[in-house]
Amino acid sequence: MSTRRWPRYFILPLGLLVLWQLWGMTLPARSRAPVPLDVLASAVDLIASGRLPMALLQSLGRVGLGFLVAGSIALVLGLLMGFFRPVERNLDPIIESFRPVAPIALLPLAILWLGTGTPAAVFIVAYAAFFPMIVNTIAGVKGVERRLVQAAQTLGVPQLTILRTVVLPAALPSIFIGVRLAMGLAWMSIIAAELAVGSKGGGGGSGGVGEMMFVFYAYYIELDSIVVCMIAVGLVALAIDHGLRWLQRWLMPWAEQHR
């Protein structure tokens, strides 16, 4: 995308924003419809006061932690399940029967066991992130060219070393697809989890963007601020995905050439 084409990409969204603003100004003053200029004012306020950055950081921290937990388990299990048939036969039924259970459905359990704070939120994130990562890791391992494994075997390299030095790097592109999918889901579930937990916390609850949105909704009915949160959530997700894609290119310069 050249810089000269940027303005054209913005014509439609900007036009829609202007129309939205004009429509909003025809409404009575105490209307609850958020309009762009009010949202902008609210955004400036939320950012300047540090409330939004703090809430985002807290949510991000939970996503990061849950992601790390889920990622490490999914990577180890996925590699073993993809490489050793008996491991897959035994674990696959368990994983596949949990997979359709929505992360939010586990929230009552999470709150009962772990309370309304960070551990429950991390648990929900980890649960949500686990499945796309393990499914893609297994698929990646199974898609590894047999010849590469055989080449290592005929050099006398032991199986577990092959898993680490051949299978893992060869499966990395597929694992990364899982990571990107999981990041989207994790970010989705953290907001949902914080929203739900926030209601129980009664305002002094769990923190994070989700809780902030709940408080704006339940106590102040500030739609402008809720829209700010929504936009912030979307922008952070976009930034994370770009970061992951950059990481992918940096980690796997060879993979780019094969596609």
Binding site: E145, T154, G156, V157, P158, A170
Partner: protein, 285 residues
Amino acid sequence: MSRPAPTGPKLRLDGVRKTFTVPRTGTNVVAVETADLAIEAGEFLTIVGPSGCGKSTILNMLAGLELPTEGTVAMDGRTITGPAAERGMVFQDYALFPWKTVFENVEFGLRYGPHGKGLSTAERRRRVARCVELVGLGGSEQKYPHELSGGMRQRCGIARLVANEPDVLLMDEPFAALDAQTRIILQEELLRIWGETGNRAERRTVVFITHAIDEAVFLSDRVVVMSAHPGRIIEILDVDLPRPRTDATRTRPEFQALSQAIWNLIRDEVYRAATAAGSAGGARG
């Protein structure tokens, strides 16, 4: 590297039969039908035959990547039960690790396998550098496989094999994907690397698979001719051409006569396969 005194053949196939079960249909396909073969230490043996004759299956069994359905495959009298560093392999599609440089590919076996144990990092690097030079890849150490031509990739594959110092070199149609000129050059270089000009006792055992008859005759001490459906050994021929082999070798009447003899053995089958092209399934090579 010292080797035990030669007693009996280096490699031996004893009544080897290999069948596959085709997925879904469940029918049994015979890939190799009762093969007996003894390969001497230091011998350059080539197996030639039309596609589907089971030559690659035999090589995979020698590597330990596949096990025979019946009979035994043995090295130095011990039954082969799986792959090992003493039987290294070069693949038609190179099978280089795309995320590793030429140097790292060549280093791979020594770094992660048993043959590098006891080598210091500096010794290992020296040996790798020597092997990279040996195959003529000096200067390309830091390149990735996708930056190399087919010929250079296979040079890298050969260096990876040689660096690991296996007792037996198994080569599965290593030059099949290369153009004719590159192929001729690599054939001569392979013989040089194998130690054609040196002492006979210093040479490693090579089992080489090809469908190119001239390649088989040019390289080998003996040529095993196989036929397909079912795959079986139909003839074993001695190649009494003097070494080192050169361009002049290819014009000798014995070279031509031997190539013609092999062609006569498999011609009918090749024609049959060619006219039925596309309809034939079954095992590769």
